[in-house]
Amino acid sequence: MDLTFTPEQTAFRDDLRSWLAENPPDPEPMDGGDDAHFAWRRDWQRRLYDAGWAAPSWPAEYGGRGATPSESAIYFEEMGRARVPFSANTLGLLLGGPTLMVWGTPEQKERYLPPILSAEEIWCQGFSEPDAGSDLASLKTRAVKHGEEWVVTGQKVWTSGAQYSKWCMLVARTDSDVAKHKGLTYFLMDMEQEAVQVRPLRQITGEAEFNELFIEEARIPDANVVGGVGNGWKVALTTLMNERAGLGFALQIRLRQLLDDLIARAAGQGLLEDPLYADALAELHVRCESLRLMAWKGLTDAERYGQPGPEGSLVKWLWSDTNQRLTELAVDIVGPEALTAGTGWSYEFLRARGNTIEGGTTEVLKNIVAERVLGLPRLKAAA
């Protein structure tokens, strides 16, 4: 056991840290709405790309640095610590690229990977549907083959960045006659066609981080099937496996920063001397630190034994629960400011409500932990 960074890891961190210090992003645009904000993130990704920092975990042959999982975790921790924005094409970098590297044909890799990295083409994820929720096997979006093309009709939801995307990682049903999860196929759908309509989906914060997609006979060339017809379930799992692996480290640092801010605020109000608040803040500190330790421990295991295990579900669960508790406590400590529309604290507070829903509800995560980690029998519900 050695809970310090190795010299290589330290060097990697210091490299990145000094680059970030010398190349901060432009200030966040306060005017111009979502478009200006997105342009700012795209610009930031281009700068990372120019310096070779857009996706260090990608192999060198695809323009990455072949960083180890630990280095990748350090990358996200440092990005979080520096409070830089997420890259515009985060889904392409974290999900789309790695999925193609596993399942794509040589042509697909050559065609799609470079513009992901450079943010020339933005990607979004078309998995969830209004009626499917956590139940991927019951997807209803349908793709029918006509000659060399697939014709797709259906509806997707929770697609973030859809309005800026060129490509959508789309899972659709191509065979209704086989068992539910067997008839799925994974496509790359061109978003720039009339048949695909994007409607912003506002959240309780008032902003529209996500969208709904309405797909009415959209066309996808057969060449854009990833991993083979009928193999969509497996390909989608690869995407989902990558989903939180790296991002978790950035979120966890963000949580740490939020807690540090809250502790500073509480200290300023003398509340660290009030045992009731001191106890609650110390408990959040324990949770934050154990979250970081558990995330790193998961990484150790992954590096030793291959793929990250389902223990990642524990980390996401603990993170989301802790972020909610933290922002709830902030409402008590910060007072009216946290209930005033448009303030940082009120945004964090409202946004946190989604943490236990997005990217796998806490209920689903507990199912996963119970079944895959503890080996408990799966509940079969009868109608």
């Binding site: 956590s134 005033t340 519900a381």
Partner: protein
């Protein structure tokens, strides 16, 4: 020992629910919340029915009924999330009624009872206030400070800065101005605040009740893996917990409403219990409602978030659960060693 409502009270409850289910439909609430406006028409209607003055004396134009009737209306308006300044108005009226001088009562209560004047009540320290719900539209604002002193400010005296709170079904503002601005309340401000706490707690009970109702309806319909999600214990036990929290809040609010009229000696304790239980319930039940709705619960389109936001404001209003438990602990400390209450 009887927890039942009288026939008259039941009639008030029934009428209020029917009227609001008609006049404060979710679409209309949403319209006003998105525009940040008050429903002036509804306010006029409620005023004509005498709701704002329900607990005020007839000599002031009120209906001369009590704390229980006021609680019933607060609960129903909370259920409906009606975009009218009913709660802030009755809070101001309660303070003036219980702690005001005869002149103050004479001056303000008739207007508050008829709904011609709107009121607001807020906490202040060092002269300026926290968020005061309804302040921008109020004709009269009552501020109470931490030492239990209170003062009445007419709109002209109050330096109100409108502030958008996260709950856009109601206006809010910060009240500035000098510490000595306004007219001191000479009476028992604490007793008035305790009655105000009962009203806020009752509104929270209504918010919880509605959140649970909407959630139960949703989880019966929504299916995952072939069965209604409400048949999974993760969801059904969550709903059971929501009911438990709601009933804790409801029973303590009922006790406090009753004590306000019938046993003022226990009001301080009862009000603190009610507000502690209702603040916790309001936050937890509405958060649970969002979670049980899954992805849709987190969207602007689902109405559940208005309840969540209203609950936050009400939970903080006149002090949150922690502050009222601290008050309770002080009351317990005074009694410690004494035999249990008979």
């Amino acid at each position: 020992m009887d927890f039942g409502l009288t026939d008259d009270q039941r009639e008030i409850q029934r009428t209020a629910r029917e009227l609001l289910s008609e006049r404060a439909k979710p679409e209309r609430v949403r319209e006003h919340a998105e525009a940040g406006t008050t429903d002036a028409e509804l306010w006029r209607e409620l005023s004509e029915l005498g709701w704002p003055g329900i607990a005020l004396a007839e000599e002031h134009g009120g209906q001369g009924l009590g704390g229980i009737e006021l609680s019933i209306l607060c609960e129903e308006l909370g259920r409906a999330l009606a975009p009218v300044p009913f709660l802030p108005s009755v809070l101001a009226a309660t303070l003036i009624d219980h702690a005001g001088s005869p002149e103050q009562r004479e001056r303000w209560l008739p207007g508050l009872a008829s709904g011609e004047i709107k009121g607001a009540l807020g906490s202040s320290s060092d002269g300026s206030s926290e968020l005061v719900i309804g302040a921008p539209e109020a004709g009269v604002i009552v501020l109470v400070d931490e030492d239990g002193a209170g003062r009445v400010l007419e709109a002209a005296q109050a330096d109100v800065t409108p502030v958008a709170s996260i709950d856009s079904t109601r206006s809010a503002g910060r009240v500035g101005g000098a510490e000595e601005a306004g007219d001191p309340l000479p009476g028992d401000v604490t007793a008035g605040v305790d009655r105000a706490l009962v009203a806020v707690s009752s509104e929270l009970v209504g918010v919880c009740d509605r959140a649970l109702e909407m959630t139960v309806a949703y989880v019966k319909e929504r299916k995952q893996f072939g069965v209604p999600v409400g048949s999974y214990q993760a969801v059904s036990h969550r709903c059971a917990q929501m009911l438990l929290e709601t009933e804790k809040a409801r029973s303590t609010a009922a006790f406090a409403a009753w004590a306000a009229d019938a046993e003022p000696g226990r009001l301080a304790e009862a009000a603190a219990m009610a507000k502690a239980a209702a603040s916790d319930a309001g936050r937890e039940v509405t958060a649970s409602a969002i979670q049980a709705h899954g992805g849709i619960g987190f969207t602007w389109e689902a109405d559940i978030h208005w309840l969540y936001k209203r609950a936050q404001l009400d939970a903080a209003l006149l002090g949150g659960a922690k502050r009222h438990r601290a008050r309770l602990a002080a009351i317990l400390a005074d009694h410690a060693g004494a035999p249990a209450v008979g």
